[in-house]
């Protein structure tokens, strides 16, 4: 499956407002969830290209790889701030598997609040919020690889 086919699928999902979709084709599995929180309304998110926000493609090796995020595909509103990953690594929502997540959708954050961890080369890098506001969207699932510049959170500026 190539990126073109995935784009076609996303277009169809968007047109028919399908929120959750899985497809298996040979060794390739694709799972798309629109809206970020399993069927909740698109609260706090503007723009129509949300379909891309939780997209994981499992290739032959069965290893999860995040599809590259074309620039400008995620549109945030004027009063929103998009937090992107400053490094390539593994995204963790909590400091340890037993601990609660740093933030949930709806959490109030201030400038400097820790939002998540991106692990690179066995080093846990705490990613802090550059702005104060309310978490409106979490765009990556726990323990998924993220690349440089990949959108992680949407924050409603207050």
């Amino acid at each position: 499956m190539d990126i073109k086919e995935i784009r076609e699928i996303l277009k169809v999902l968007e047109r028919f407002e399908i929120l959750d979709f899985s497809l298996q084709e040979g060794d390739t599995r694709i799972h798309v969830r629109r809206g970020g929180r399993g069927g909740e309304s698109d609260q706090g998110l503007s723009g129509r290209s949300l379909a891309r926000e939780v997209l994981t493609v499992t290739p032959h090796s069965e290893l999860p790889v995040t599809a590259p995020e074309p620039e400008g595909s995620l549109v945030v509103g004027e009063k929103q701030f998009l937090v992107t990953s400053p490094i390539v690594g593994t995204f963790y929502r909590a400091p340890s598997p037993e601990s609660p997540a740093f933030v949930e959708v709806g959490s109030q954050v201030s400038k400097g609040s820790v939002l998540c961890i991106v692990e690179a080369m066995k080093i846990m890098n705490e990613i802090e919020s550059e702005v104060g506001g309310k978490v409106a969207g979490i765009l990556v699932e726990n323990a998924q690889p993220v690349e440089y510049g990949q959108p992680l959170f949407i924050i409603d500026l207050v």
Binding site: P59, S61, V65, V88, A120, I123, Q150
Partner: protein, 450 residues
């Protein structure tokens, strides 16, 4: 023979045509490839052609293609077993190779101690001497006292050349023609070396006027087998940057080839070197050759050797790093016909400045004996952040005349619009009588200007 496994997944820590070259080798070997790319290379071919690709940083290469933690992290999240560094960027960086080793990732190239040894030109000179390889008369240790250096310069006789121990690729070099200007040149060379390479060590050797630059490709495995694949003549250079390379060299006889080949093999053996490497020699007008330096990477001009020997050097690098013994013996290496390579750069022919921009029309030549290694395509934007090479055009023929005719024909067919390129310069060189007769040295481009 026991079954030996290759890697299942390799990360390519480079961009442009060499990243594509490695991805192609991986695909042919059934290895999955992972490209890393900067923000400026989202639309680049290596990003598109690899099985997976990961953005590792912004356009500035210090924060992306030279960013060791990001590249290692990308290899870890994508479960790569090995990293191919290509050429340039981190290819000859011993720290990078060490971090790979410490992270349990195979660095496809020589060990870090060999990168470090060959990165120091004084140590490399000493090694060559121990291996019985001819070196140019001069110092075998770094010098800091100008008076001591002047004594040595007088011994070897002017003109002399002052080189930085940590230099290479033509950087940090000063030619001194007389005693009067020696002291000033020496202190300038020292401070230049200190600021450019973080190492003020310099050394002095006799300057050879108008030599040819002839290099020997070697392959060495972990079992101690070392072979050479003949020479490449890289004398057509501008400001120490190679423009045209060919194999065989018009100046190397079968006897000389054997002698230079044996010297290169002896050097690699003395060092215990493993993987692909190139031993560079200067060849003077009397047919004497001298060790210059060893390059511990795959080189830009490697296709020239591939075309005449039929050996895929990048695949050999991967096999060697996976622990395979060399499948080729020295007596099996056959040089067939003649190959020549022109480096097509995006640059303004008037001022030699890079000419970045969007390629509005692109047609790559083909037909018998033509190979194009390029990451360019129509509508591709050549970013200003990286080097200006757009394509390598390689022509192979049953002899030099046929290779030259094919190259001229292919240069005429090659269409790159939207940016200025060195195609007209190559056409000019190929029409020159001295080049056609194979009678040229490293001062060829200088003499062309007149």
């Amino acid at each position: 023979m026991t079954f030996m496994k290759l890697f299942s997944k390799v990360l390519v820590a480079n961009r442009g045509e060499i990243a594509l070259r490695v991805i192609r080798a991986c695909r042919e070997l059934g290895i999955r490839s992972v490209a890393v790319f900067s923000d400026a290379d989202r639309e680049a071919l290596h990003t598109r052609f690899a099985d997976e690709s990961i953005c590792i940083g912004p356009a500035n290469s210090k924060l992306s293609y030279l960013n060791i933690p990001s590249i290692i992290s990308a290899a870890e999240v994508s479960d790569c077993e090995a990293i191919h560094p290509g050429y340039g960027f981190l290819a000859e960086n011993p720290e990078f190779s060490e971090v790979c080793e410490a992270s349990g990732i195979t660095f496809i190239g020589p060990r870090s101690d060999h990168l470090r040894l060959m990165g120091n030109k004084i140590q490399a000179r000493n090694l060559a001497k121990r291996a019985g390889v001819p070196v140019i008369e001069g110092g075998l240790e770094g010098m800091s006292d100008p008076e001591e250096a002047l004594e040595l310069a007088k011994q070897v006789g002017f003109p002399v050349i002052i080189k930085a121990a940590a230099g290479g690729g033509g950087r940090g070099i000063r030619v001194v023609h007389s005693e009067a200007s020696f002291r000033a040149a020496f202190s300038m060379a020292q401070s230049e070396a200190g600021s450019s390479f973080n190492n003020p060590e310099v050394y002095v050797e006799r300057f050879i006027e108008a030599p040819r630059h002839v290099e020997i490709q070697i392959l060495a495995d972990e079992k101690g087998n070392v072979i050479h694949l003949g020479e490449r003549d890289c004398s057509i250079q501008r400001r120490y940057q190679k423009l045209i390379e060919e194999s065989p060299s018009p100046a190397v006889s079968p006897a000389l080839r054997k002698e230079m080949g044996n010297s290169a093999v002896a050097l690699a053996r003395e060092a215990g070197y493993v993987n692909a490497g190139t031993v560079e020699f200067l060849l003077d007008s009397d047919g004497r050759f001298y060790f210059m330096e060893m390059n511990t990477r795959i080189q830009v001009e490697h296709p020239v050797t591939e075309m005449v020997t039929g050996i895929d050097l990048v695949k050999e690098q991967i096999r060697i790093s996976a622990g395979h013994p060399l499948g080729i013996k020295q007596e099996d290496v056959r040089v067939t016909g003649h190959a020549i390579e022109c480096r097509i750069n995006a640059e303004d022919p008037d001022n030699h400045r890079p000419s970045p921009g969007t390629i509005t029309f692109y047609y790559a030549p083909g037909g018998p004996g033509i190979r194009v290694d390029s990451a360019a395509y129509e509508s591709y934007y050549i970013p200003p952040h990286y080097d200006s090479m757009v394509a390598k055009l390689i022509a192979h023929g049953r002899d030099r005349d046929e290779a030259l005719a094919r190259m001229q024909r292919a240069l005429e067919e090659f269409v790159i619009e939207g940016v200025k390129t060195t195609i007209p310069l190559h056409q000019r060189i190929l029409r020159t009588l001295r080049f056609r007769q194979g009678e040229y040295s490293t001062n060829f481009i200088e003499s062309l200007k007149g």
